[in-house]
């Protein structure tokens, strides 16, 4: 079995170099902060990149899907499960987290499919600007629904994971931070395996490559695209869960900036490339945290979008290159 340079060695090399540089510049404590933030960005960036890969739509509502996910998780925790504070029994905690995570991901998956069915599918053959505008419209619809349901002020999320920390290499790391990063990595690996090793994954790849040909080969295009939206929204939902658990507070307009940064991450890694999106998420988080460490918090967003512009100018296909079909 030969090792494919493009698919394996280059991502691993870029990922390792990026992580080592981050660690050297930030130190243990801030590195942990950057990784945690990166986990959230990466989970959202995956959704942007998957949707772009398959229908070439920049789904600007995706940041808001993430936001809705955080509210859904909050609602499940408070209203359905009646939680209000830390759960100290480890077994209970694992059980509750699994329930919240599973329910939110499935719930968001269906919301993602619903949006695709009614907002994007009717416009699939329209000029490309039409679905883009629709995406912005969906973004506002989601924000306004949440704003009217939960109010425009920040809403507290019960922090069911105790905020305990352990000493590690000169810093203090929260168990929650570890959980978030591990969860993100596990979901990313699961996604890679799904796309690379299953029938549905193959259908997704073939649809991305050449939709008409895939259809001629018997791939159900509508179903494949719907599943892509399901997975993208489910990942955003997982991001929403950990966003709430980590920050303890969510707001209806949370998705806009986070979504924009995750989009930047997707472009940075090479849009359409899932590994690239994950690495891009961690790099964007690093840029943001590093700007803060240097004392330029006000400029952190400028730094993030400067990175976007530089990438578009000098390496328009992103760090790992785009993975798109013939028509792209």
């Amino acid at each position: 079995m030969t090792v494919d340079f493009r698919r394996v060695i280059r991502p691993v090399a870029i990922g390792t170099i990026a992580l080592l540089t981050e660690y050297a510049l930030l130190g243990t404590q801030q590195f942990a902060n950057a990784l945690t933030l990166g986990a959230i960005y990466a989970l959202i960036a995956l959704g942007y990149t998957m949707v772009y890969g398959i229908v070439e739509l920049i789904n600007f509502a995706h940041g808001d899907i993430f936001m809705v996910g955080s509210f859904l998780a909050m609602w499940i925790m408070t209203t359905l499960l009646g939680l209000s504070g830390p759960v100290t029994n480890l077994l209970n905690l694992v059980g509750l987290l699994s329930i919240v995570m599973f329910a939110t991901m499935v719930g968001m998956g269906f919301i993602g499919m619903f949006i695709e069915r009614f907002a994007y599918r009717p416009l699939r053959h329209a000029p490309r600007l039409a679905p883009l505008i629709t995406a912005i419209g969906v973004s506002f619809i989601l924000q306004n629904i949440i704003s009217s349901l939960f109010g425009p002020s920040p809403v507290n999320v019960p922090q069911i994971v105790p905020l305990d920390k352990f000493a590690f290499m000169g810093g203090k790391i929260g168990y929650l931070n570890v959980f978030m990063v591990v969860l993100a990595v596990v979901l990313m690996i699961a996604l890679q395996l799904f796309v690379g090793r299953t029938r549905l994954g193959r259908a997704m790849r073939s649809t991305a490559q050449d939709r008409e040909a895939a259809e001629l080969m018997g791939v159900d295009i509508n179903q494949t695209i719907a599943i892509t939206f399901f997975i993208a929204a489910a990942l955003a939902g997982a991001g929403g869960v950990i966003q709430g658990l980590y920050f303890g507070s969510i707001k209806f307009d949370l998705g806009f900036f986070v979504g924009l940064k995750a989009f930047t991450a997707a472009v940075l890694g090479g849009i359409g490339n899932t590994t690239g999106a994950a690495i891009g998420g961690f790099i964007i988080a690093f840029v943001e945290v590093y700007a803060t460490v240097l004392g330029y918090t006000q400029w952190s967003e400028v730094a993030v979008f400067t990175v976007l512009i530089l990438v578009l100018v000098f390496r328009p296909s992103g760090l790992l290159g785009q993975q798109l079909g013939e028509r792209a």
């Binding site: 404590q29 801030q30 902060n33 950057a34 945690t36 933030l37 920049i58 600007f60 883009l132 912005i136 704003s147 109010g151 425009p152 002020s153 920040p154 507290n156 905020l163 920390k165 203090k172 929260g174 920050f247 303890g248 507070s249 707001k251 209806f252 307009d253 949370l254 806009f256 900036f257 986070v258 924009l260 989009f263 472009v267 849009i271 943001e288 945290v289 803060t292 460490v293 004392g295 918090t297 006000q298 967003e301 976007l308 512009i309 578009l312 328009p316 296909s317 792209a328």
Partner: protein, 442 residues
């Protein structure tokens, strides 16, 4: 080419159109029958339709509810009590409520639009508000041009009134100022907090974070200058815009410098509530005092929508705050009347808003003697209120204003959070108050 398009689309998405959500609500005044005592006087010809209005221009919704709603209630109470006495010179009072919160956070453009609405309503004799200094700077040029009095219970930024910056907001009528305020400016509020942290709490080093807004930067600067003057060490100063969601890296970097206290220079709706909540979780900052200005010390108990303690939750312990108004009132019937009327304790600036309404009422009473129509009554209110020779008996004590519109007898009250109050959710308790002299007397 394709990627160029992608970038352009990304840029296009940044141009987001937000719908404005200014609301106009006209609340009916309380009782309209004059009880015994002053006999009902027939309203003069100037009082068109038998009713004039006091406007309020405050952030009323979303995260700002804990700021604006109790403040507007102060005005509602004053109007109700005045109408019970038969109104002003036989003319009944009504209220015109404007909300400058956009998506739950105060917004200068919305405030400016609201001020245009109030100016256009000829029955509005004076306006109580705004709450936030950044909003005031957008509104004063409009009220100055129209000659409509604004009395702010809560603005504290020095540049709102004081030259050279203050002059730029009253260019249309430089000699006819239209704005007065009862709160202490930040040249008093910031240093008071610094004195409190350094002398009363005995902390010699501090980390300062501001919200990049007019008020936050201003109060942060004055705090920083005073803390240094006292011999304290400002370990770091950061500015984080209100769009910030992750304050952890900021506080992690600051915690490495071992500050003994934190100053939150800003308001809770613009991020200081989240900063408190997240900063507390950072190693080394679990128990240090967090001190905030009136934008943090909203005096809302835990559970009130948008209140600091509600947002920060269990992180609200060891939190202190300053308010640019008196706590011990000259008229101690106010608190009881307020609680009876609205079923809760007054907010940080309820009494000050009540005082502003009293000033507008007293000025209108004086102006009604010579007024011939609504426009001349409005101008009379403005001229009487800003006249530094006039002093007003209010709930805060006797007030008069200097040539820039600043209160010549400002107060600072100090509060701290007691987590055992409000059924374990926490509430603010009064610590002490101090009085100061005219901020522009030097």
């Amino acid at each position: 080419m394709k990627y160029g398009k992608l970038g352009a689309l990304g840029a296009g998405a940044l141009l987001v159109f937000s719908a404005c959500s200014g609301t106009t609500a006209t609340a009916a005044p309380g009782t309209s029958t004059a009880p015994g005592g002053s006999s009902a006087v027939a309203a003069g010809a100037w009082c068109v339709g038998g009713t004039v209005k006091i406007g309020t221009e405050l952030p009323m919704s979303g995260g700002e509810t804990a700021n604006g709603a109790p403040t507007a209630n102060g005005v509602k109470l004053a109007i109700k009590q005045q109408n019970a006495k038969g109104g002003v010179a036989g003319c009944k009072l009504d209220i015109n409520v404007q909300d400058d919160a956009l998506n739950g956070v105060h917004d200068p453009q919305t405030g400016a639009k609201n001020m245009q609405t109030l100016v256009a309503d000829a029955a509005v004799m004076g306006v109580v508000g705004p709450f936030n200094s950044g909003v005031a700077k957008a509104e004063i040029p409009i009220s100055n041009g129209a000659g409509l009095l604004m009395c702010s219970p809560a603005n504290t930024n020095n540049g709102v009134t004081q030259p050279p910056e203050g002059d730029t907001y009253r260019k249309t009528n430089p000699t006819k100022i239209s704005y007065i305020r009862t709160a202490s400016p930040d040249s008093i509020q910031g240093p008071s907090a610094a004195d409190y942290l350094y002398k009363d709490l005995g902390k010699t080093s501090v980390y300062i974070i501001d919200d990049t807004e007019t008020f936050g930067v201003g109060v942060g600067d004055t705090f920083q200058a005073e803390f240094k003057k006292l011999g304290g060490n400002v370990v770091k100063r950061d500015s984080a815009p209100k769009s910030t969601t992750d304050y952890t890296p900021l506080f992690t970097a600051a915690a490495a410098l071992n500050p003994q206290g934190v100053y939150l220079a800003g308001t809770t709706p613009t991020g200081m509530g989240l900063a408190l909540k997240q900063g507390r979780t950072v190693s080394g900052l679990e128990t240090v005092p967090f001190v905030g200005p009136d934008g943090v010390a909203d005096l809302g108990p835990g559970g009130t929508q948008g209140a600091t303690i509600t947002i920060a939750g269990a992180a609200s312990h060891d939190v202190y705050g300053t308010v640019g108004s008196a706590h011990d009132l000259a008229d101690n019937t106010f608190t009881a009347a307020y609680t009876t009327e609205f079923g809760g304790a007054p907010g940080a600036y309820s009494a000050a808003a009540y005082a502003c309404a009293q000033i507008i009422i007293a000025s209108l009473d004086k102006a009604s003697a010579t007024a011939t129509d609504l426009a001349s009554a409005r101008e009379g209110v403005r001229a009487n209120a800003v006249n530094s020779a006039n002093s007003f008996t209010t709930v805060l004590g006797s007030l008069n204003f200097d040539k820039y519109g600043d209160n010549v007898h400002p107060f600072i009250s100090f509060y701290k959070v007691d987590m055992t109050l409000a059924g374990g959710k926490g509430d603010w308790t009064f610590v002490k108050q101090e009085s100061f002299s005219d901020p522009n007397a030097q």
